[in-house]
């Protein structure tokens, strides 16, 4: 029985007045599992992911990180969020800090590690994403792919229970996505629990334990990657996959 790292139950999030981004969604993800969410733009995937990290407050429903309920009142969300790593589509590194500074910040200010220890751990995280040599460079001096790798290091540094990634490669030029995907592949190999929103289909097929098709605010279909590539069960998934595969073939 795999330990559940993160789960949500009957989650709802509506943007006034009529846009329901998350409609009664429940999901579980276990230790070491890698699940991939995909679906049409605007379907609410990002909102859903942010609700899990409590960066956006859900209207109804519960989110659990291991045994802790994050949605009940009186929870120290900052402490809980320190156990979740989040990687953003647009990266959003702290531009006034070097790569090392970016990764260190949480270690020093949130986990309150002493200077030496924080530096050690930050360098270790940068090493994992192969950005150690760029430790003293500023984000503006790096390419998008390098910045995103630092973003991943920033999420990793606190040894979080789970890493949530919101389309980590979508904002990058195609030539740069490769390095980020390689990094994620390494992390997957090490058994990191990850929930990724992405449209990189070959990558999904390779590393995801389960793929989740999200459309119109709900989970329409879930299953192992092969299911989506050979025989999607639902109509919407079928249509989406056909379009996606045709698009990938053309590129």
């Amino acid at each position: 029985m795999v330990g559940i790292v993160m789960k949500c139950e009957h989650l709802w999030k509506t943007y006034e007045p009529h846009l329901i981004a998350v409609k009664d969604v429940s999901l579980k993800i276990g230790e070491g599992e890698i699940k991939l969410i995909f679906g049409p733009s605007g379907s609410g995937k990002s909102t859903f992911l942010r609700c899990l990290a409590m960066l956006t407050m859900p209207d109804k429903g519960d989110v659990f990180l291991r045994d802790e309920c994050l949605t009940k009142p009186g929870v120290n969300l900052n402490k809980e969020r320190a156990r979740i790593g989040f990687v953003f589509q647009h990266i959003w590194l702290f531009r006034h800090l070097t790569a090392l500074g970016n990764v260190e910040l949480a270690l020093r200010r949130v986990l309150k590690q002493p200077k030496e220890e924080a530096r050690e751990n930050a360098l270790k995280a940068l090493r994992e994403v192969k950005m150690e040599e760029w430790a003293h460079h500023y984000p503006a001096q790096m390419s998008g792919g390098q910045q995103q790798r630092v973003g991943i290091a920033r999420a990793l540094a606190r040894n979080p229970d789970i890493i949530l990634l919101d389309e980590p490669t979508s904002a990058l030029d195609p030539e740069l996505t490769g390095e980020v995907i390689d990094t994620l592949r390494d992390l997957a190999g090490k058994g990191t629990t990850m929930l990724i929103i992405s449209h990189e289909m070959p990558f999904a097929r390779e590393i995801a334990d389960e793929m989740i098709f999200y459309d119109g605010g709900t989970i329409v279909e879930t299953g192992p990657p092969e299911q989506f590539f050979t025989n999607p069960q639902s109509e919407r998934a079928k249509k989406f996959m056909t379009r996606l595969i045709m698009k990938t073939r053309r590129e």
């Binding site: 959003w92 006034h96 949480a106």
Partner: protein
């Protein structure tokens, strides 16, 4: 001189208050800013020296409230500068705010922490060129203190002229002194800006 720094500190408080404080605070702050930006500084000085104490004394006669001119000078310049600087700071903060706040919270920092460690360091660097303009502006306004009877550089100049009738030399010298002072400080501001500039973020004043 003091006025500009006090203005900066208070300006930051105001900008944050306006952004976060909720409707009532916003309205109060906006009113305050409009007053200081919308009226000549000499009038503001008079208001503080005469009108305000008189109103307070009217309401509570036992107080015999009085401002001495020097305090008024400091106070008004400080508040005035703050009113302008709130605009600069707010603009700078809004330019970077949303994303950086989300990123900060995603690593487990609270809102105040994120403000202090992430947003303000960036916003303050953006503000430097505008600040140096503000400094020029304020320094050139100091002759207004004349109306309160405080002796500033210009007043000294007028006295000298009254005694020596050397109009040309005196005022040229005064102008030169102002020029040197302002140029020196703005040059320093430029150097600070260059050193502290975040690579990749360029804002033209």
């Amino acid at each position: 001189m003091f006025g500009v720094f006090a203005g900066l500190a208070f300006g930051i408080v105001l900008a944050l208050g306006d952004l976060y404080g909720g409707r009532i605070l916003s309205v109060i702050i906006r009113g305050y800013v409009e007053f200081f930006r919308g009226s000549p500084i000499i009038i503001q000085l008079f208001v503080f020296l005469y009108v305000l104490p008189a109103s307070i004394n009217y309401l509570v006669p036992s107080l015999h409230f009085q401002f001495d001119p020097l305090t008024v000078g400091f106070l008004v310049f400080g508040l005035n500068s703050a009113a302008y600087q709130k605009g600069y700071v707010k603009g700078a903060v809004e330019a970077i705010f949303e994303d950086q706040m989300t990123a900060g919270r995603s690593i487990g920092m609270s809102r105040p922490q994120t403000l202090w460690h992430v947003i303000l360091p960036q916003a303050l660097r953006i503000v430097i060129p505008a600040w140096s303009n503000e400094f020029c502006s304020i320094t050139k306004s100091t002759p207004a203190l004349l109306v309160l009877g405080i002796r500033d550089l210009t007043a000294a100049g007028m006295t000298i002229v009254g005694q020596t009738w050397r109009i040309l030399e005196t005022y040229s010298l005064i102008a030169l002194l102002y020029l040197i002072w302002i140029t020196a400080v703005t040059k320093i501001a430029d150097v600070v800006y260059e050193k502290k500039k975040i690579p990749g973020i360029e804002i033209s004043a």
